[in-house]
Amino acid sequence: MRCKVCLEHAVVDIRRHNAAFCGPHLLDHIRNQVARAIKEFKMFGHDDRLLVAASGGKDSLALWDILLALGYDATGFYLSLGIGGYSSRSRKAAEDFAASRGAKLIVRSLEDEHGYTVPELAQLTGRVPCSGCGLNKRYEFNRAALEEGFDVLVTGHNLDDEVATLFGNVLHWNIDMLGRQAPVLEERVLGGDAGTPPALVRKVKPLVRVAERESAAYALVAGIDYIVEECPMVDGNTQHLYKEAITLIEESSPGTKHQMYFGFLKRAAHHFADQQDDAVVVACTNCGAPTVAGGPADPVCSFCKTKALAHHRRDQGVTPRRPARRRRSR
């Protein structure tokens, strides 16, 4: 195959765009897709301070690289989850990337901030690791962005992530989740009063026009040494199952993912939009962080409840064991 732009030898074929690219033109193509999403969804400007949630994986590091290449003021944030060697290797990937680009990386760890790791949290609360992990990440990303004075929190969710989430929300008809699924989540203030400082920072997903395979290709061509191994806690994850199912359809009908997601945004999302935003954001009476969890009647955020449960169980003598390691077969 030949590059669509320069007719040199191509390294990647992107069937949904009916195109193939050489390395340099693949980088251009992906950067253009990101620039287009930023513009189309009015995500942020060059004056904004961006905090990029950098996990050390391909999507977040590719995105960070793209934002820097496009001239944005982008700082990385790595949250250590305490998942053994996986966490130390992913942290190193994020640190090495930051050093190679001369970019700033903020590092925090759940252990230091809250006294537990993700595996311990799962053991202590009896919930699956991804659930406690997701809750803690959302909480810590928002807190870090506000404390460090960033305007926007940027995450590496790609087209496949969004399609898989949409697919799951449709399978289960999670109407309120469908109302919240957007490339931009506007900032929210406490009590809904305009003019007060944000309590939930603005969140954006500039990779929504980029498929997962494309962001991996970008990372490889850009020479980014991202962490390839999967988090060992991911076993039996439904998100992955949905991705595999949709990728099978994409294989025989290129463009399906894009159509499903952007068709939803254009033609269906507004039907669910009024399911959200009426909940007033109140301050958690324990930590002060914003919560919509139980409304004013129950103003302790789910993060604090989970954390309290974990510490309570530990005080009772529940000792976290190392979870049995299982392999997911591919």
């Binding site: 074929d13 992990c133 992530d161 988090c231 992955h240 990728t247």
Partner: protein, 66 residues
């Protein structure tokens, strides 16, 4: 040819396929779900392979709540 697979990391020996797409078909791997790499370079589906090649097939779909 030697083919490195990931998660878990392992190497399998494959003989026969003359291009990327037939290698993936042989291993029952959906092309959209992976990248194929030779000498740090990505290969398109139609790229010809030789029996001496050392390849990596890298999955691109990750899981987890994010």
């Amino acid at each position: 040819m030697k083919v490195k697979l990931r998660n878990p990391d392992r190497v399998v020996d494959v003989s026969g396929p003359s291009d990327v797409v037939s290698l993936l078909r042989r291993l029952e791997i959906v092309p959209e779900a992976v990248l194929v790499i030779r000498d740090h370079t990505l290969l398109t589906r139609d790229e010809a392979l030789s029996q001496e090649d050392e390849l990596e097939i890298r999955p691109v779909l990750s899981g987890g709540s994010r």
